[in-house]
């Protein structure tokens, strides 16, 4: 499976993502934001970081990069596009995903492990995933997902909510919501579920000695579903 990771000025999880993808057998290549086109890919990843210093709004400047037109075309033709953290913020700013990531409710940068619940498995990311609750890492200042009531209803009706923050036991409530996101939302799909944006970093959970391997499950699952 071929993948491309797009690098923006200020991306800082691009190489971690490269390491993770290659570890599980993706043929990954790095693509600079100023390039006109993306090499043939089965998966495009927009990595975490602080593209353009988070100027104006997180992800807003990156969402107008030269390369983004190719990303949008790829997504509209059904290609898999995964945005992690700042990548999620960029995807909402392009309009590929609904809503926006606002500043965390308590104005703090959060860096910690969280549990997330997989809400939908009828898609190429989570189909046949062996676990329903994953332990992943978050590190963000703007992860407070927000959208209008109409958009939320549409997300719920179409099962576009991908993952939510929860406790180890799966409880979704205010206590297990780190940043104030509506409905504990940690990640969403577009309507066709080929575009996934989420705040947690699976690429930081791929080593059993350093972190845990729930991220490994995520990457292996994408590969398994591709075969």
């Amino acid at each position: 499976m071929r993948s491309s990771v797009i690098i923006f000025p200020g991306s800082n999880c691009d190489r971690d993502m490269d390491v993770a993808l290659k570890k599980f057998g993706f043929k990954n290549q790095m693509v600079w934001h100023n390039d006109q086109s993306i090499p043939k890919s089965d998966l495009i990843v927009l990595p975490g970081g602080f593209s353009y210093g988070d100027y104006l709004r997180c992800g807003s400047i990156a969402s107008k990069s030269k390369i983004i037109k190719s990303v949008i075309d790829f997504a509209n033709s059904g290609g898999l596009v995964l945005g992690i953290c700042n990548g999620f913020q960029i995807l909402t700013e392009t309009g590929l995903l609904n809503g926006i990531l606002q500043q965390n409710k308590f104005l703090n940068f959060i860096c910690s492990n969280v549990f997330i619940k997989v809400k939908d498995k009828q898609n190429k990311y989570f189909r046949d995933l062996k676990k329903d609750i994953l332990e992943l890492h978050i590190a963000h200042n703007e992860g407070n997902y927000f959208c209008s009531d109409d958009e939320l209803k549409s997300l719920e009706d179409n099962n576009q909510i991908a993952v939510t923050y929860c406790g180890e036991d799966g409880a979704e409530n205010e206590a297990t919501n780190p940043n104030g996101a509506i409905k504990n939302i940690a990640g969403i799909f577009n309507k066709n579920k080929n575009v996934l944006g989420m705040m947690p970093h699976p690429e930081r959970m791929i080593d059993k000695y350093l972190s845990g391997e729930d991220g490994s499950l995520f990457f292996k699952n994408i590969l398994d579903n591709f075969k």
């Binding site: 104006l56 709004r57 807003s60 107008k64 909402t92 700013e93 609904n98 809503g99 926006i100 606002q102 500043q103 965390n104 409710k105 308590f106 104005l107 927000f146 959208c147 209008s148 958009e151 104030g180």
Partner: protein, 77 residues
């Protein structure tokens, strides 16, 4: 021509920074501050002499980049 734009959060959208500023002002004995909403202010120099045209250009810029209409309103002043 210089066009000025103010971008603010829509009514009903939580503004934690505004809230923190309000609480700080209250703590500084500005007890009559009931609410603070924080926004952004832009001055945009447009190479255009016709004010109507310039404002219409800036309006387009607001929709496409300067404001995110999911949570923000803009006002060209």
């Amino acid at each position: 021509m210089k066009i000025k734009v103010i971008v603010t959060l829509k009514n009903g959208v939580l503004d934690p920074q505004g809230k923190a500023i309000q609480q700080t002002l209250n703590g500084m004995n500005f007890g009559n501050v009931e609410d603070v909403r924080q926004g952004k202010y832009f001055e945009i120099e447009v190479k255009e002499k016709d004010e109507k045209k310039a404002k219409s250009l800036v309006d387009d810029m607001c929709k496409k980049l300067l404001a995110n209409l999911v949570i923000e309103d803009y006002k060209i002043v």
